[in-house]
């Protein structure tokens, strides 16, 4: 009888348990990540909360624009088939939504590197009047009034306090957990798959012609480069120069990773290249 009571208590604890540690695994062959969850230890409850927030329209002004409206899972968390994404009140975003994966390895985020830490990244789309267009105080008030969120915050952080720091840290538990490390390339590297003749030839050409910027295994060197594109006269986007104020950074944009590349079209900071062929054509003959 006594042991039965103990068992049932354990059962309850498991159901309503808080802070179940869920350490982040670094994929074999990957460098150490920039973000190590050190001030934000990853837990099952934190990750669950972050995932719920990511998919919840309550974070946007009119309820229609959760993070996932522009970062669609089936498009490697980019916006499928859209040059620019749609935001509040029939507006377009300023840039092409990047796929979200391997963000834990990014020291700076965005096409211009203007965001200096993954935890503060969500503030940009959240407060942007063209995107989610919301006020941070409104989001906090809405979540506090919600039936579920206070208990989810309690499970994730040990109290039901809801503030911007906790919202951002929970979102980061989710976004930093999106890892791309099991493509055919990764399997080939691990010796569990083999490239066929065409894949092997492509890989060799890639290593000669592309890998300087698109460095393995993350397929980017995280630098900002001018690839000889023209300024779009409506967007007037000068890229990295917008952040540094330096002339030499004019029209430089972040080298994007080539992981999931067939899902993240159209390409370029403003989505001007519809297909991979167009992009290759640009490098072959279109550079200004």
């Amino acid at each position: 009888m006594k042991s039965f009571a103990v068992l049932s208590i354990i059962g309850c604890c498991y159901l309503f348990s808080n802070n179940t540690p869920f350490p982040f695994q670094i994929p074999k062959g990957f460098p150490p990540p920039v973000y190590r969850f050190s001030n934000n230890p990853r837990t099952k409850q934190g990750l669950f909360l972050g995932r719920k927030l990511f998919y919840d329209g309550k974070l946007s002004k009119d309820g229609n624009f959760p993070c996932s409206s522009c970062h669609q899972q089936f498009a490697a968390f980019a916006t499928y088939e859209h040059r620019l994404s749609h935001g509040f009140n029939n507006q377009f975003s300023f840039r092409n939504a990047p796929g979200l994966f391997n963000l834990a390895w990014e020291k700076e985020l965005n096409w211009d590197g203007g965001i200096n830490h993954i935890e503060v990244q969500p503030l940009a789309p959240l407060l942007d009047p063209h995107e989610m267009a919301e006020d941070l105080n409104q989001v906090i008030a809405r979540l506090r009034k919600d039936k579920l969120y206070p208990s989810l915050f309690n499970q994730a952080f040990g109290s039901s306090v809801i503030n911007s720091e906790r919202i951002l840290k929970a979102l980061t538990q989710f976004t930093a957990s999106l890892v791309s490390a099991d493509s055919k390339y990764d399997q080939m590297k691990r010796g569990t798959a083999h490239f066929n003749k065409y894949e092997q030839t492509g890989y060799e050409i890639f290593q000669q012609k592309c890998a300087r910027c698109h460095q393995e295994p993350l397929f980017t060197d995280f630098s900002y480069r001018n690839t000889g594109i023209e300024i779009d006269s409506t967007l007037k986007d000068y890229g990295r120069m917008r952040i540094t104020g330096r002339k030499e950074d004019s029209i430089k944009f972040r080298v994007p990773s080539l992981r999931n590349v067939f899902l993240t079209f159209p390409y370029g900071h403003d989505g001007r290249f519809a297909t991979i062929s167009e992009l290759l054509q640009h490098y072959n003959s279109g550079i200004v």
Partner: protein, 235 residues
């Protein structure tokens, strides 16, 4: 934010930041003239200070505490007074940071005075502004004649974050003891802000809202508006 436990060797230091125009305390939404004769009124005035420490004259005596960051907001008088424990000793000034240093600028999501809901955080070009002054002036050619100096940026060479060391007037020495509560007033005079190293004429510069060379220059004017410390003590 950080809280301190007082030990026997410590006493309390009170720092009061006060903003003046022509030597009178600044009132929000009141018409003033700057030294160039330009009319203006201020509706919002906020700045960050942090890591405040007394400067000890006895060599070897080091500050064992520095305060965390505080957002001074002129619309909230309680925010202008900062009280924190300090080690006993003889001092002739204080030092503090104006703005948020690069380590804390780069450290992810924060709460307390660094919570982005305080309206001092830039989202598309991450970083905390060092200070923010908003208002109106008929001389401004901005929409609705607003003036907006949102001064931030922490990267070389355009950092707007300064370590300020100020001595007491006439190098007057004060002792931090258990018996007295030392109150230090840090005055900021806006006449010096406008008529500073870079003359800030509203007709020419009515807004600065991005990091860069101009923000850096305006931040130099701002630190130039910090004048001498004055001391009082309460038993």
């Amino acid at each position: 934010m950080t809280s301190f436990r007082k030990s026997e060797a410590e006493s309390t230091l009170v720092i009061h930041f006060k903003v003046y125009v022509h030597g009178e305390p600044l009132q929000l939404n009141k018409k003033y003239k700057n030294p160039f004769g330009e009319t203006y009124e201020i509706s919002r005035f906020r700045f960050y200070v942090g890591k405040i420490e007394p400067v000890y004259t006895d060599s070897g005596q080091k500050a064992n505490h520095a305060s965390s960051y505080h957002l001074i907001d002129i619309s909230d008088s309680s925010s202008t007074v900062i009280e924190f424990p300090a080690a006993k000793g003889t001092c002739n000034g204080i030092q503090f940071l104006l703005g948020i240093d690069s380590v804390d600028q780069n450290n992810g999501a924060k709460s307390g005075s660094l919570d982005p809901i305080k309206g001092m955080f830039w989202t598309w070009n991450s970083g905390y502004q060092s200070f923010k002054m908003e208002g109106i002036s008929p001389l401004s050619d901005q929409p609705s004649h607003v003036i907006a100096y949102h001064i931030g940026g922490y990267r070389y060479p355009y950092s707007t974050v300064w370590k300020i060391k100020m001595n007491t007037t006439n190098d007057e020495v004060f002792r931090i003891t258990k018996e007295y509560k030392i109150i230090i007033e840090v005055p900021v005079e806006l006449d010096y802000f406008f008529d500073g190293a870079t003359p800030l004429r509203i007709k020419e510069i009515s807004a600065c809202t991005t990091p860069g060379k101009l923000a850096r220059k305006i931040s130099e004017n701002f630190i130039g508006s910090f004048t001498g410390l004055t001391l009082t003590s309460n038993p």
